[in-house]
Amino acid sequence: MKQYAFLLFIVCTALFFFACSKSDEYRLSGSVFIPDEDFPELPKYSEWGYNTFGAYIDRTPFVSDNYTMPVKIIVESDTCRIGFSGKMGTLTFHLPDFVPENYSDLLALNGKSYPLIQSSCMVTFTNNEETDTLNITEGTLTFKRVQKLLVDKKEMKSVLSGTFSMKTSINGEPVSIGNGRFDVTVGEINFFKNE
């Protein structure tokens, strides 16, 4: 009987500590939307890992919400896809020749800028399971800061912060995607490597 009580105590203690660390993961994955002073429908630009993004598609705000994972990183054999998802759909940037092994390797993007006009850097928009490749006439994706996220000296995630804008056409109609900004965390739960 004493042995079972001791075993139960060990299991409960292990579950307690497991729950605590998972609680940090959960809280740091949550979105904190602080309205931009000039564009209150968009989140204020930050570099804290607030898990938000936003842009105007013409005059319609395309922003992250509290229910959808704001970003997913999907790594394939020769491309890294960065997909920002909100209620309207998913905007995905396909970065060529960038194959990180894990979320820590994303630090290599720090300070990098990708001209979107080049055909090698593809941008797609997915809505209602339909994916369109955007024909970009001008635009840039900039990773202003990519850094580690540490909690009590322990590395937990990577933080990607930056801006984007572009001019394109959707269903033959010219569209401007402007004032784009993102501040997202990437960890084990949203980093996918396809072998």
């Binding site: 809280r27 607030y50 509290n66 996220l149 540490l150 909690v151 009590d152």
Partner: protein, 264 residues
């Protein structure tokens, strides 16, 4: 010239009061407590997590981190009554202690951002940041009796009054500490505390109160007051909370000075 004018006014008041009965002079003690309304100071770099709630559309969400500041005070209070006890002037010496906390509404930890690491977003998990500050101040108050009546017995007077006052003082004690989630992080306490300046040593308030008073036959007065939402005038008196207003309650007892002076 200004000093001369103020001294003249003060002399007239004191002379006028002295010309009246010595029972118009009283000495007493006061005790009060209350709380400060406000939000935590944004000088602390805290990740602004929101509380999850049933109303999860952002309409009713609030920040998980919160600040709370309570105070208590006690003092010695000389009093001069004028114009048939209609108007009362108070001063004295007051000791006030503020106890302020910055914590998480869910009772867990909040994430404090360490700004001295340029290469990473680095958070410390903190349960509580606590600050205790004590002030010694001189209050100046004036009350006006709105209503009084010998409603219970001829020897007992019940009064209601309104009061306005201000105080000015200096900090005599200030202490801050940080409770980290992990005891191994406690060595970083000074780093966290040094990121925000110490509270202002000067302290000044402007306040009002409404009170009830019971005066018994020998002149002893018992007072109960409610401090209406009032203002702390000095900036940065507290590093935890950005104060909007403060309010509270006060109890005091006033004894006629004639009780302590022998009549020959």
């Amino acid at each position: 010239m200004k000093k001369l004018i103020w001294m003249s006014i003060f002399s007239v008041v004191i002379s006028g009061a002295y010309a009246q009965k010595t029972s118009n002079f009283k000495i007493g003690v006061e005790f009060g407590q209350g709380s400060v309304e406000g939000d935590y100071s944004d000088k602390w770099n805290i990740r602004q997590d929101l509380i999850t709630s049933l109303y999860d559309h952002g309409l009713f969400s609030s920040r998980a981190a919160y600040a709370q500041s309570d105070f208590f005070y006690w003092g010695i209070k000389p009093q001069v009554s004028l114009w048939n006890d209609r108007v009362n002037l108070y001063s004295g010496l007051r000791f006030t202690m503020f106890d302020s906390n910055l914590g998480d509404r869910n009772g867990t930890n909040f994430f404090y951002l360490r700004t001295t690491n340029p290469d990473a977003v680095e958070f410390y998990k903190i349960f509580l940041i606590k600050e205790e500050t004590a002030y010694l101040s001189v209050p100046l108050e004036m009350s006006y009796t709105i209503f009084h009546s010998n409603i219970l017995t001829p020897n007992i007077t019940v009064s209601f009054y309104g009061k306005a006052g201000m105080e000015i003082g200096l900090s005599i004690f200030s202490k801050r500490n940080v409770n980290f989630v992990s005891t191994t992080m406690q060595s970083h306490e000074h780093e966290v505390l040094n990121s925000v300046e110490q509270p202002n040593k000067l302290y000044s308030t402007l306040y009002g109160a409404l009170g009830g008073q019971l005066t018994i036959g020998n002149g002893i007065q018992f007072n109960v007051e409610g401090i209406i939402p009032s203002q702390i005038l000095t900036k940065n008196h507290n590093s935890i909370i950005e104060p909007d207003t403060f309010s509270g309650v006060q109890l005091s007892v006033q004894f006629p000075l004639s009780m302590f002076i022998k009549n020959n």
